[in-house]
Amino acid sequence: MKNALKVRVLVRPKRGILDPQGEAVKRALPALGFSGVGAVHIGRLIELEVESADEVEGMCRRLLANPTTEEYEWEVVS
């Protein structure tokens, strides 16, 4: 794709929602001897190459994130 824009989307669980992955990691870290871990939240990072950034918001809402349980932010990185 010519003149592609690189977009980075960060998706993470909404505040207050149970994050079983984060909880599991939070429990596992002290078990391995890492102390002093307060909170762990696990989301995901998505990198896209797109012709234009116009549709990124829609992509986030309809597929990349689940707006009922997750929040997202995105930026054009290059």
């Binding site: 998706v11 207050g16 929602i17 909880e23 986030c60 707006p67 349980t69």
Partner: protein, 740 residues
Amino acid sequence: MNIQETYTSLGLSDFEYDRILELMGRPPNYLELSLFSVMWSEHCGYKNSRPLLRRFPNTGPRVLQGPGENAGVIEVGEGWALAFKMESHNHPSAVEPYEGAATGVGGIIRDVIAMGARPVALLNALRFGPLDDERNRYLFREVVRGIGGYGNAIGVPTVGGEVEFSPAYSGNPLVNAMCVGLIRADEVVRAKAEAGEGNLVVLFGAKTGRDGIHGATFASDELTEESEAKRSNVQVGDPFAGKMLIECSLRLLERNLLVALQDLGAAGIASSASEMAARGGVGIELDAEKVPLREEGMEAWEVVISESQERMLAVVEPEKADEVLKVCERYELDAAVVGRVTSHGELRVFDNGEPIGSVPAEALADAPVYEREVRRPAYLDGAHRFDPDALPEPDDYNEVLLRMLAHPNLCSRASVYEQYDSEVGSDTVVRPGADAAVLRIKGTKLGFAVTADVSGRHCYLDPRGGGAAAVAEAYRNLSCVGAEPVALTDCLNFGSPEKPDGYYGLSECVDGMAEACEVLGTPVVSGNVSLFNETERGAIYPTPAVGMVGVFEDVSRHATPGFKREGDMVVHLGDYRPTLAGSDYLEIVHGKVAGKPEQPRLPREKEYADLVKSLVAEGIVDTAHDVSGGGLAVALAEMSITGGIGMTFDRVEVEPMLSGRRGDQALFGECGGHFVVAVPEERWDALQEALGGVPYDQIGRTGGDRLDVPGLLDVAVDDLRAAHERDLFEQHAPEGGHLG
């Protein structure tokens, strides 16, 4: 928000608020009001359905526990018992289908654990709008994923269920989950806080967060609209924590460390505690600050009504509390003593010693009861006007049969149940796809069978007949696999009870079910009611899902629908009085939902089904199938497809089958109370002897690779299979974000 807006937003009426004032003798605060809101909801208080539910029989020789506890319990034999219940999670699944379905499964599992039983089987009854709509496809796919995601991970097999599609459920899907647990009959735990004053209340399981707190906006003025959008009230299931909860609860019970056990559902700790207190006739005091929290800054009232998943509440003798906490730690669960049992009969909540709420437990348990107005809906007369002779008669029944087998309501459910682990636990004897699932009880010859059934369309066209037919179909399905049907749980999914013609459906369905339960001898031992299932398009079909459980003395003696051998004699058994009224054929081929279906003849249903059961139990028959949706042609096709063997209808039997009927009525007409069985020739004499006075016909023989009904049908089994094995997920369902 003024007080009226507040209680209205919590779903309480003016009348109910006045009643609360009367019971309390003072205005309730928000926490107290929240408690009444939940405990007086239909889900907990059955305020619209209680008078109807009393019509159900709920005792029987095998019933150890009827309605009123977390789950019903029946006796199997040799000291074994089964605890089971079905519950709806319709609304949460409409909002967030994956988590809604997952937490529905988790919730029903905890009900069974609360009886002290080990969960051993899951089923579900699902309804969606038609799959040509993107939103419906999305809901269907995500609900199925959610059931599998939770059930597969927690290690309880999903062994059966049912799914149907109709425009009546567009925008209002039904997700009913059922769980069966195994327990020693003398170890059934009751969720009563019976051991009185001085005992401690222990909360264990996952930490408490702000999940499912509807009132968040009300009390948190500092929350802006923007921050509210960033917060989710959706409850998320955690099957791994759920698994720990099963093992931990069972270990605590096995070591005799608990006095009582209760799962946490709607309105969290406060409602569970008040239920325990009301059942035990005692009081409970809770200390909100002692509850292990997942997030900071939670208000005390939020803590006690939060609906965070994977938690249980137990009553423990003080000297055993340390041991209980130690066992919880072993299972990596949070646990804390959060309160005590008292004699004052109230539920009192404290925050660092400060009282923040106090309600008589009895008052919470005493929801007002409404006798609603009943009016026969106007649509029924129009819907019953139906003239089968006005239907154009198809000229190619092969094509019609293939089309019916490929329809989403009749095709193979393999694309759904193949996403579920149906064998974990290694006790599944008959997997999904038969008339009922069959499981063994390890170390014995005993076993049990489970099925979930209802036809919403039938209940729409004839609520009383449809309610009875749902119970009768479940009874037939269990009988076909060879189990003795014992008792049932139900999930009554209906529209608004405040509309007299909507309430008619509920009342009539319950009457029909109650009558069938009486005649068939299968009491209702647990259940759940879900009302107000309406969208702007109107109410859903009346849908009283029935989950029935039956038992085997010798589980090795069971039957499945598939033909087993070439040359078997195929026998039709029972009354043959097919009608196209309200049939699948009418809806699929002619696009009509009309006519009044045949009334179930309950005493005969019982006679025939009991006979089929005994034929299987005596080892005469190993191939049996209930004739239901799609009529005789679809039943025979299913037996051919699953067995991989064709069948030829005896030429001389075609004429009596038609006897004045059109071909479509004979092939695809529906009625209850009939079966197809197959036996090898050497057991024909034994079969005839066992049949006694029951009407039967030998209609043909198995063999070859075609289903051949001379003059009407002649299709290759491979073609039948190709049509039937439709992938219900074949169309992409892109809506919603689910990369996670």
